[in-house]
């Protein structure tokens, strides 16, 4: 009985957390833009209110759709999002923001197809993985899921939208793990990426500080590579996995070094490393990071008070109503406000994970973990970016950032999470 009630009632904690975050978001968007009396940013908080209302409607709509219909429509949604992506590239010159082909116009509404592609890929992957488990030891099972990822991945890279492309990969990993891969398998898959990072770190640091590491440049990656080989040996990986992992790791490490050495121009390197040392180019690539850190830092413990943030009010914060909305929060509400919001986000993620653990249906289960992964990745990367911990990527903060398509996407994700609790899971 207890079990039944838990599964078939709406998770109000999750819903209220989401609504609270959305409301906070509206206030933050207002405080970030109220200074503009005219121009494109004037009064956009009203727009955001509209988005949030629409988001709530979407949540209700999704809750009321039985999960099996969602499951049935998964590929259709995926296909639709692909078509929109292609349209965005084809009509790319139509509306271009920040010089990237990211928008399409649907009846006067600007729609960002890459946002919906996240949901499309999530549903399609969940559907596929719930029907046919994958295994590294049975390569043909990987063909379809990997293709499902690669198509939107390539289209999004073409735009180019590196952030969204990263979201695709990050979302897919836990889903594969949930589906059937072991932790070791996931490690094998991820190891080339780790190789990339480890081989890049000495290069970044050298560029930044000007001090060459000499032969020690190879040390971090070398150690990691050794660990990979040892693991392959201990767990007796089959030959093709040996070959695949080793070739993959060596290739990424080499390509990283070559690209860094001869392809990237200095200003590009500067942009990549600016988060480590924003003062190197304070009015260029480092500007956003510096201003954001100053905003958050100057908030101190209790913040400067609502609408009292000088950094945000005086427009020193770039993109403050979208990607850097967390800085607005940090400046006006300080450590207390930031911690509160981080705790709300944590509640959301934990609730998401609890949903995942509580579902027996594989499709719902995979959808829930995917939703949680997407939200968690966005939250972590965005906040880390405003704190100057990671490079500046175009990844907005769920619930708080201004934006129609993104708010809708978040609404769909929240809806899917809530749906998992109320829906009939036997299909």
């Amino acid at each position: 009985m207890d079990d039944l009630r838990r599964k078939n009632s709406l998770d109000f904690t999750l819903l209220l957390t989401a609504v609270a975050l959305w409301v906070i978001g509206i206030f933050l968007v207002y405080s970030a833009t109220y200074i503009h009396e005219s121009g494109p940013l004037a009064g956009i908080y009203k727009q955001q209110i509209l988005w949030v209302v629409m988001a709530l409607l979407i949540v209700i709509l999704i809750i009321s759709i039985p999960a099996r219909y969602i499951s049935k429509g998964a590929y259709a949604f995926y296909g639709m999002s692909l078509v929109m992506l292609v349209l965005a590239i084809a009509t790319g010159s139509g509306v271009s923001a920040k010089g990237a082909e990211r928008w399409i116009l649907v009846g006067g509404l600007k729609i960002q197809p890459s946002e919906f592609a996240k949901v499309g890929l999530l549903l399609a992957l969940a559907k596929r993985l719930s029907e046919r488990p994958v295994s590294l030891y049975n390569l043909p099972t990987l063909i379809v899921p990997v293709s499902l990822i690669l198509v939107p991945f390539a289209l999004v890279l073409k735009q180019p939208d590196l952030g969204t492309a990263m979201v695709f990969c990050v979302m897919a990993l836990p889903m594969f793990y949930w589906s059937s891969l072991t932790l070791l398998d996931v490690f094998y898959v991820v190891s080339p990426l780790i190789s990339l990072l480890l081989s890049a770190i000495p290069l970044l640091l050298t560029f930044n500080t000007g001090e060459s590491w000499g032969v020690f440049e190879a040390v971090p990656w070398g150690l990691f590579f050794l660990v990979v080989v040892v693991l392959l040996y201990i767990f007796r990986a089959p030959l093709y996995i040996w070959i695949g992992v080793i070739v993959g790791n060596i290739t990424t490490a080499t390509v990283t070094t070559v690209v860094w050495g001869s392809v990237l121009k200095d200003y590009q390197k500067m942009r990549i490393t600016s988060f480590m040392n924003p003062q190197a180019d304070p009015f260029g690539s480092g500007y956003q990071v510096i201003q954001s850190k100053v905003a958050i830092g100057s908030g101190h413990i209790f913040g400067k008070g609502y609408l009292q943030g000088t950094q945000s009010r005086l427009s020193f914060l770039p993109e403050q109503h979208t990607d850097f909305i967390f800085s607005v929060l940090g400046e006006q509400f300080g450590l207390v406000g930031c911690s509160l919001v981080v705790i709300l986000f944590a509640t959301l993620i934990i609730k998401g994970l609890m949903v995942t653990y509580g579902c027996r249906n594989r499709f719902i289960n995979l959808t829930a973990i995917g939703c949680t992964a997407i939200l968690g990745f966005h939250i972590f990367v965005n906040i880390a970016m405003t704190l100057g911990m990671t490079p500046v990527t175009g990844i907005p903060l769920p619930f708080l950032s201004y934006g129609g398509s993104f708010t809708m996407t978040v609404a769909i994700l929240v809806g899917l999470l809530l749906n998992a609790r109320v829906t009939d899971q036997d299909f």
């Binding site: 932790l183 830092g297 100057s298 000088t310 934990i350």
Partner: protein, 650 residues
């Protein structure tokens, strides 16, 4: 596993938040305050310069410049093409895209500061820009105050001009409230009274956004109000100066100075050629273009010839030789020299000519010697007096040293004499000889400024004191309240007996009377004293025309010196300028009119009729004038075939 990853991520975020917002907060708070606060320096309007009648010689006008703020310049090409569409009333494009691209590229180095792209823009262009602000993001119109000189070139040398601070002076000035790119007085009164007129910068703290847009003052920091500069009330009479300028031959170089001997007030300070000081406060493109032309001009229009032009005084110096002789008791009013003038004078084996060819002036006394400017008389007087005695009186009459006028760049001139000459020409191994005393006595050895000559002749008329010449009369604050009064300062006490003064005044008056060489400077009803001079100089065969005048000669209110380079005879060229000036003074100015009334109590002054239109001269007077003119012309013929040490205006 997933839960572990989540927990680690959350912890990382919280730890970083704590580090940023608690441990490193202080630095961020400081930067944040600096970010949003700009110190705004408020420069008060500069004090005006006025003449003695309250006419503005220098004032301020509002001006507009168009600036670019690179940070908010979102779409550079669109803004440039919009700007290029703006046309002025004549239909010419105001901006050109090539220059704009360059200027914007330069401005980009300081993204958050305003950079001027067009200075001193007419108001109609400004209104076009303001109407289209929406299409021109990043373009800002800035208001500033620029200096304006209503009388343009006429008052240039007295008033001076404004210019940017030169690099070598900036190091010291930066501690005195000056900022790079500020304008400061570079010459004339603008320079001398820079600190008086400039005032003190105020400061206010503005809250500005990242676009540099001011959002009002920061309330909790007190603003410092600017201290206004004072207005300068000068002793100049610009209308009198214009009258002198009108009479001055435009194409010739030279200067006119008029001083009030009673207190040192400089009434007229005119130097030709001149420059319009307004160009120096116009836009930098006009400025640099014109500046190049002015600086390269061989006529040196920037040179203030009234105080820095040194000319041999020529025959005008004879009155000094004369007064020395009279006061030393060597001559009296009626005494005559041993040698009568036969057109030349023999000293040793040197034959020094008088300008009048044989039969010469015949026997002369001091009055007629001055009146006809007889060289032979003064050769002998000079030899009797010697250079030391003459120079003692020259010093007494303020010659040969800087007068101390409140203008920069004054020259001291040079009073020859045995010691000075030997020092000066030591390199050329020239030695002083007795024969040179003869040249000294007729003013062909020294070089002096017009201002010094005016003081000298004023001193002879005044007879007691020579005051330091001054342009500043009063300083008043912006409400017109007197702040400082510049009282007359005595420069020289004249220790000359009354007899010598009376005789020399009579001689000066004789020069201007019909038949004297300076008859053109006469004013009907006023006893004017004067002396012509035609100073030879090594630069040209045509002598400098010199004229000094003092009026009324026995109780003077005005002393005038005119110097015109390479113009010929002083009586024909320089005296009319002094005449026009004096006539204007006694017929148009309040001070002159009251003096005129004192001398002519019966005749009602007919202000409509210029005094220059005299009643018809008698035939005898006309003939005498003609003879005087002939003398004047011949005076300019070289008397001594020998280069004078210095001449002209180098």
């Amino acid at each position: 596993m997933v839960a572990v990853v989540c927990c680690v991520a959350m912890t990382v975020l919280l730890v970083n938040l704590y580090r940023l917002q608690v441990i490193e907060a202080e630095e961020s708070i400081r930067v944040s305050n600096e970010n949003s606060m700009r110190e705004q320096v408020v420069l008060p309007p500069r004090g005006r310069i006025l003449d003695r009648n309250g006419n503005e010689l220098a004032r301020n006008r509002p001006a507009y410049s168009i600036c670019v703020l690179p940070y908010s310049l979102r779409n550079r090409d669109a803004v440039i093409s919009s700007l290029c569409k703006i046309r002025d009333v004549e239909g010419n494009a105001v901006f050109d895209s090539v220059t704009l691209v360059q200027q914007i590229r330069k401005a980009n180095t300081r993204k958050f500061e305003l950079t001027r792209i067009k200075e001193d823009v007419p108001i109609d262009i400004v209104s076009i820009v303001e109407e289209h602000y929406m299409e021109l993001p990043g373009i800002v119109v800035e208001t500033e105050s620029r200096r304006e000189y209503p009388y343009g070139p006429s008052a240039f040398h007295a008033v001076g001009y404004m210019g940017e601070i030169p690099e070598n002076e900036f190091d010291t000035l930066r501690n005195q409230d000056y900022y790079w790119g500020d304008l400061m007085g570079r010459a004339g009164l603008e320079r001398t009274y820079e600190s008086v007129m400039r005032g003190k910068c105020g400061r206010e703290y503005l809250e500005v956004n990242a676009y540099g847009k001011s959002l009002g003052t920061v309330s909790n920091i007190k603003k410092i109000d600017p201290t206004y500069g004072y207005d300068l009330y000068t002793t100049l009479d610009i209308n009198l100066q214009l009258a002198a300028q009108k009479a001055f031959p435009d194409s010739l170089k030279g200067a006119v100075v008029a001083v009030d001997p009673r207190n040192g007030d400089v009434l007229v300070l005119f130097s030709n050629p001149s420059v319009d000081p307004n160009i120096f406060s116009s836009s930098s493109s006009v400025r640099s273009k014109t500046w190049a032309a002015v600086a390269a001009d061989r006529n040196l229009p920037l040179n203030n010839r009234a105080i820095a032009g040194v000319y041999p005084p020529g025959s005008t110096f004879k009155v000094l030789t004369g007064i020395t002789g009279l006061d030393a008791g060597i001559i009296s009013k009626d005494s005559r020299m041993p040698s009568t003038c036969g057109g030349s004078f023999r000293f040793g084996n040197r034959i020094a000519k008088c300008h009048k060819p044989p039969p010469g002036h015949g026997s002369t006394n001091i009055i007629s010697a001055v009146q006809y400017s007889c060289n032979v008389y003064f050769y002998q007087l000079g030899l009797k007096l010697g250079d030391t005695r003459i120079n003692k009186y020259a010093n007494m009459f303020s010659l040969g040293s800087v007068t101390g006028i409140d203008l920069p760049g004054e020259k001291a001139g040079y009073l020859s004499g045995e010691k000075a000459y030997n020092e000066r020409f030591a390199a050329r191994k020239w030695r002083w000889t007795q024969g040179l005393v003869m040249d000294l006595a007729i003013g062909q050895q020294q070089v002096l400024t017009p201002l010094q000559l005016a003081l000298m002749v004023g001193g002879m008329g005044n007879g007691k004191l020579i005051y330091t010449p001054r342009l500043l009369s009063e300083e008043r604050n912006k409400d017109g309240i007197l702040v400082y009064q510049n009282l007359p300062v005595v420069r020289n006490k004249i220790a000359v007996g009354q007899y010598a003064l009376d005789v020399i005044r009579e001689a000066l008056a004789a020069v201007v009377r019909p038949g004297g060489t300076g008859w053109r400077a006469g004013v009907q009803g006023i006893p004017v004293g004067g002396k012509t001079g035609s100073a030879q100089n090594p630069h040209s065969d045509i002598s400098h025309a010199m004229f000094i005048a003092v009026a009324p000669v026995d109780d003077p209110v005005i002393a005038v010196a005119v110097a015109i380079e390479n113009a010929g005879g002083g009586g024909a060229v320089a005296a009319p300028v002094a005449g026009a000036l004096l006539n204007y003074f006694f017929s148009e100015t309040e001070e002159g009119k009251s003096v005129y009334k004192k001398y002519n109590p019966d005749s009602e002054l007919k202000t409509k009729r210029p005094l220059t239109q005299r009643p018809a001269l008698s035939a005898a007077e006309s003939a005498a004038n003609a003879a005087a003119d002939a003398a004047d012309r011949s005076e300019s013929a070289p008397a001594i075939r020998r280069p004078t040490p210095e001449g002209g205006n180098d």
